[in-house]
Symmetry: C2
Subunit: 214 residues, 2 copies
């Protein structure tokens, strides 16, 4: 299993992934620097070297745009012809949550017992976008069964799937002092707080189950 990434390393990784999807080619070090406000290509170079060392990417030495993502086969979880199952959502921004189910990236068959008597029509599958909940045994890449709910219906302390801008993560939810708080379960990640109407975060719903490929 791959060593987990720091928050900044994860940002670099997600930037690369997003760039590849958008431009159909990997970014240069300079472009990564521009995208993440890093002025020195050496700073980017070090972060990228860390991603390679940890097995998240590969690099072709001395080649322009020589970064390649590992495990990028989108067909790995493509639609099979078994019974209908839950939609695996594609990348969505926190300010456009209506697009969550618009074009699923695929579907994942889910044993109904994992749904804990919730309505399957109200559930969807998302993937955890970081290691912020490592302390709770949830890792980057895990499949999450999420029951869509408004944050008003959540008790404090509930595990939620939340979109921070374009990254979907799991956090423990609290509503206090007129703000929404999201606590990670890992000391290298920071708690974040938002005004309830902020476009920078969107609570997708309650995490009902986790599935992981080993």
């Amino acid at each position: 299993m791959r060593t987990r990434l720091t928050e900044r390393q994860n940002q670099v990784y997600e930037y690369i992934r997003s760039y590849v999807r958008k431009h159909s080619k990997p970014p240069t070090l300079k472009e990564i620097g521009r995208g993440l406000a890093i002025r020195s290509t050496n700073g980017v170079h070090k972060l990228v070297a860390a991603l390679e060392k940890k097995g998240y990417i590969t690099k072709t030495p001395n080649e322009a745009r020589g970064i390649a993502l590992v495990d990028t086969d989108p067909d790995a979880y493509a639609f099979d012809e078994g019974p209908p199952s839950l939609p695996l959502i594609s990348r969505t921004r926190s300010d456009a949550p209506e697009r969550l189910r618009l074009r699923p990236a695929g579907f994942l068959y889910t044993d109904p017992r994992l749904l804990d008597r919730t309505d399957p029509d109200e559930c969807l599958i998302a993937r955890a976008g970081d290691d912020g909940m490592n302390g709770d045994g949830i890792r980057k890449g895990d499949f999450l069964v999420v029951e869509e709910t408004d944050w008003q219906g959540l008790r404090n302390g509930t595990l939620v799937a939340v979109l921070f801008d374009e990254t979907l993560v799991v956090r423990r939810f609290d509503h206090a002092n007129g703000r929404l708080h999201f606590r990670p379960a890992d000391r290298t990640y920071n708690e974040e707080a938002f005004a309830p109407d902020s476009p920078d975060c969107y609570v997708v719903g309650r995490v009902r189950a986790v599935m992981r490929k080993l």
Copy 2:
């Protein structure tokens, strides 16, 4: 409608397309030259400029791997939920014809009247890979309804879908002097002939219909 390509230009275009699919990034001019036995990067540069001028690709000036294909959205003909229809075959090599139906790129609904009483289970959809049959009103990108048949069952003069290595094209078929002949209907393309057991060509079958998006 885009101006049609010469044979060599089409080879460059198909090389780029194949490279993008295989490497998840566009090739450099040097790589294209290596792939098509062109020693001078200027020779490649000219061919690539022609593709851009004719609207098949775009180029970002002075940028490494700055070639981008136009109209590469694979979802344009993705599976819809209408009745089952014919499989749209993915790229296949002439020496591995058993892979033709292995992983269809999609499906295309086909009016049964286009099949001319042939068994739909024996038909598939392919896309014409060049403009070699322009004289017969068949153009690169056209959808072909192909009835899979062995070449022995074909009359001379039949329109066939044939794989030349990794490129699928339409040609008029003749069997003469112990060889298979494939005649284009365009003066800038060459007739080709193969021994019947050559791995460099494979006759997919008889072209039953053509469909085109305008």
